[in-house]
Structure formats: C-alpha cells, structure tokens
C-alpha cells in the first residue's frame, strides 16, 4: 500500500456512490440513443443532458477514488428498457433514465454525511428538472417508488 492511498470510506458510502455511478454510466449510454433519434432543438437538449451526465459521471469517479474506492467501469453495452425508433420513444427513454438517476442519488441522501446528502439532493433536483422537461409534466416524488411511498414504515433497516 502506498502512502498516497486515501483512507477507505464506509462501505455504505462507496456502495451508494457506485450505484449512482452505474446509473450515470447507463445514462451516458442511453442519451446517445436518445439523441440519435431526435433532431433540432430536441437533439440539442439531449446533447446538453448527455454532457451533464458525463460531468456527473466524472465527479462520481473522483469522489469514489478520493474515498479509496475503485470506480466501476461502464458496461460495453446496455439493454435498453424500451425500443427507441421515434422522437416520442426517445423522450420516453430520457424520462426513464432520469427517473433511475434520481432514485440512485436518493441513495446518497440516505447517508449520514451532510455534504453527501446535499450533493445527492442537488443531483436528484437536476434529474427531476431534466425528467420534467422530457416528460412534459412534473411529478410529486422524483426518484421515489410507489412502494416506498405506500409503506414508509413497513420494516426497519
């Protein structure tokens, strides 16, 4: 072990950061498909969001390294959850990507560090804003599943 190895963070912190990174890897891949099916201002919007996800990915990789972890690599390819052939389907995929991103960053909000919580919450907000733009409407609980909302006290973790 070299003297430059940072102290390892709590496993829960690294797990949550890796989950967010996995979602960002998927979003970077997915937005490539989104943009390929759009034109004009919609393609420009997809490109802007694609870049935002690359920046977020880089940020998470740096956060993981600074905590003594090794950032997980992107998969070579991702099986898309929807078939994308039309602009409407491209927008639907973008919505789906942002929902997953918001959920992943809520994992950071559950950690105990104040700075990590705030970082996670701001990323949830960014995902919610992008998602609302693609959806054309807002939602009450970005990132939270119906199950989480229906039974908030069902079991203790």
């Amino acid at each position: 072990m070299s003297g430059h190895t940072p102290p390892a963070a709590a496993p829960a912190t690294l797990d949550a950061l890796q989950s967010a990174l996995a979602a960002e890897h998927a979003a970077v891949y997915g937005y490539g498909v989104v943009g390929a099916n759009l034109t004009g201002s919609q393609m420009a919007a997809a490109t802007a969001d694609w870049v935002a996800h690359q920046v977020a990915r880089d940020t998470l990789e740096a956060m993981i390294r600074s905590r003594g972890g090794e950032p997980a690599a992107a998969a070579a390819a991702y099986q898309l959850p929807v078939t994308v052939r039309t602009p409407g389907e491209a927008a639907a995929l973008a919505v789906l990507l942002e929902d997953r991103i918001a959920a992943a960053y809520l994992g950071l909000v559950a950690l105990s560090g104040t700075a990590l919580r705030r970082f996670g919450a701001l990323q949830v907000r960014a995902a919610a804003l992008r998602g609302a733009a693609w959806r054309g409407s807002t939602v009450a609980f970005p990132g939270l599943s119906a199950a989480a909302l229906a039974a908030p006290r069902r079991r203790a973790t």
């Binding site: 997915g30 959850p81 919450a121 054309g136 989480a148 908030p152």
Partner: protein
C-alpha cells in the same frame, strides 16, 4: 417540448426491463427506516407546516382573479401529495395534542396572493424556490428515510419553477396586463 409519453407507459416500461446492467443495488431500499421520535418529529412538523403553506398559497391563487387554473391545479395536487406523505410519516403518540388542527391546511388565514395573474405567478415562483431550499436545509438532521422524502419533495418543488416561468411567458406573449 418533448413528446408526451404518459406516465403509465413510462412506468410500465420501467417495470418491464431494468436498464442498469452493472448493479442491482437500489438506493431507495433504505427508505423503509422508520422516523425516530424527538428531533425528527419537529423536523417533520416544520416540513408539514411548509407544505400546508404552499397548499394554502395555491388555493388562494386559484381563488383569485385570472390565475391559470390549468397550470396551477396540477402543481397544487403535487403539494397536496407532499403534505399527505409527510403527514403519513408523523407518528404522534396517543393522547398528544395535535399541533395541526386544520386537516386540509385551508383557510386558516389565507395567504395574501397578489391579485394580478402575472404577480401571482411571480409570487408562487418565489415561494417554490424558498420552499425547495428550505427542504434541503432540513436534510442534515433527518433520519435517512425522511431525508430521502424531503429531497424528493424539494426536487419536485424545483420543477414547479420552470412550469410557472412558462405560464408567465405565455401570458406576456398573449396579452399584456
């Protein structure tokens, strides 16, 4: 700007085939942790009071002249959902006095929303920004599951801002005054 896939379609697609290849870990699992009594309760009460105020502001704006109901109603119903979800987390021991006697948050002295539609939209926009920021300020001391709910609500409120902006832009594009 985007096409309008219905939420049902999108959620169905989400259920059908998970996208993430790398990790099955779902950070939202920790949501199930119960709120502790004590500091969490006062935190929750302040969040509930904040959402009651937002509901009251939208109701007052909708009662006023000319505010675009088609824009405001969906936002109001999201605030009502926030309020209901926050209240569902509040576990009050039997026999405790209730600090919130007004169940709907309505008409306990309605907020003074500006009368002109443009000013009402600007008022609501500022209120949303303040409320979203205040939700974030509650995060440090919240139990994990409540922190996630507050962050989600804050994000939802942040998404209301561009909706109100678009409504204001529509108005100025149509008819001044």
């Amino acid at each position: 700007m985007a096409a309008h896939p219905t939420r049902r379609v999108v959620l169905a697609a989400a259920a059908a085939l998970p996208l993430a290849a790398a990790s099955g870990c779902d950070g939202v699992d920790v949501l199930a942790a119960p709120p502790r009594p004590g500091p969490a309760v006062s935190l929750l009460r302040s969040a509930i009071a904040a959402e009651q105020l937002m509901v009251a502001r939208y109701e007052a704006a909708l009662d006023g002249a000319g505010a675009p109901a088609a824009v405001l109603e969906p936002l109001l119903s999201e605030h009502r959902a926030h309020l209901a979800q926050l209240r569902s987390r509040l576990v009050v021991p039997a026999g405790s006095p209730s600090p919130s006697p007004s169940p709907s948050g309505r008409r306990a002295g309605a907020p003074a929303v500006p009368a002109s539609p443009a000013a009402a939209l600007a008022y609501l926009r500022a209120a949303e920004q303040t409320a979203a920021a205040a939700m974030l300020d509650r995060l440090p001391h919240a139990p994990a599951s409540l922190a996630q709910l507050l962050a989600s609500i804050s994000a939802s409120e942040a998404t209301h801002v561009p909706v109100l902006d678009a409504a204001a832009a529509d108005r100025t594009g149509q008819a001044p005054g």
